[in-house]
Amino acid sequence: MKKVEAIIKPFKLDEVKDALNEAGIAGLTVSEVKGYGRQKGHVELYRGAEYEVAFVPKVKIEMVVSDNMLARVVSVIEETAKTGKIGDGKIFVSTVDEVIRIRTGERGETAV
């Protein structure tokens, strides 16, 4: 099983979630994060001085998927999260050893 983490622009969340849902994803987990990357933060003027606000608000989607869903999921995210403008974000894929559904105790692919 694979874990897919995607850092995306916050206003794209609903669209990405809907697309993943259609693609047959069973579940996902979202958190609010702040990003730092090529997309620079902005300069704010406050009481006569300038300050750099380095971080940009982003949303992180995490989901564990079976290996055969991986390609599908990645391409869905790529398509829907893309605006073409800097700061669109990243997708990270890594390997998960085990998945357990707490409610039922199911393990492995069926637990995803």
């Binding site: 704010e44 406050y46 009481r47 001085a49 750099e52």
Partner: protein, 411 residues
Amino acid sequence: MDQLNMGDTAWVLVSTALVMFMTPGLALFYGGMVRKKNVLSTIMQSFIILGVVSVQWALFGYSLSFAPDAGGGLIGGLDFLGLANVGMEPDPNYAATIPHLAFMIFQMMFAVITPALITGAFAERFKFKTFLVFTLLWCTVVYDPIAHWVWGPGGWIREMGALDFAGGTVVHISSGIAALAAALVVGKRRNYLKEPMFPHNITMTVIGASILWFGWFGFNAGSALAANGLAASAFVTTHLAAAAAAVSWTLVEWMYHKKPTVLGAASGAVAGLVAITPGAGFVTPMSSIIIGLIGGVLCFIAVNLKPKLGYDDSLDVVGVHFVGGTFGALATGLFATTMVNSAGADGLFYGNAALLGKQAVAVGVTMVYSFVVSIVILKVLDLVMGLRVEKDDELRGLDQTQHGESGYIFD
């Protein structure tokens, strides 16, 4: 003549309640502007002043300010110690148609908010214990005498003929310059100008500014001490100056910084209220619009110069109260007219240059006295008990480290 008037009494009591409400309003105005980790400590400073200074005033502060002169027009005597001789009957030396107690407590609220104004200068780094001692000392040796000079029976500035309708010198200049003293002696916040120290809750600041505006009707129009035409006139000038300054600050900021901010509009309103305070009962409504427009712009400039001047007056007490108060006191010397208030005087624009001179003297002396004495008090307290919290406490925030609390627990 010393017949109680119910209408006047109702008005002054309401005004007192309004001015009392300004101090919590100030707590919010300031509280919203600090970082989240310091919101409670900032609010606390204003809130506890409402407790401490009220008691000080009843015990001896009122006497020092308003009891018959103890000599030279410099300080009041002890006749009113513990509110002795301050009763339910009017005392025509203070206000002929309202209970003397009403006059006393109306004045109390001014004594309360003045030291609270100063706290904006040293927000986010001052030791709570030292702050309490500072406040008590400052009220006793700075505020009480200055109030006596300007408003007390026999006070020398009053005798000289300078005008201060509702506290331009007594409240705003005295606190504004003490704020500068404090910013200089206490020193900058760690990482000042390095890391952003944005207001954590501008909605709170707007609520505070709105309460201040609301309460200021009591502050200025209540200073007529009667529900008459003068009160209405002062009410109008107060409102128009606030309105005009909110607009002028916003516009000048929009031009120079590209965006009109809500903090700017709120700061502008307060700047206008400060600027009109000394002249509220002496100038016409049209003059008050001009005073507001200029006051908003001047304070905007002052606030934006601060980083260049190099002191860290956290919440811009100097830029708003000192600059706005000084401008307002001098503007009174320009725009005052006896057509508005026959008990006042004409200003330069009405053919009397002398008033401007007197205003300048009142401003100058207040400024120097408050600045020097404030510096002395702070230097002494720094030696005796220390002014600043520990470095780590400052980084973690004063709410947790000084008060053991968090402003918000949202998770």
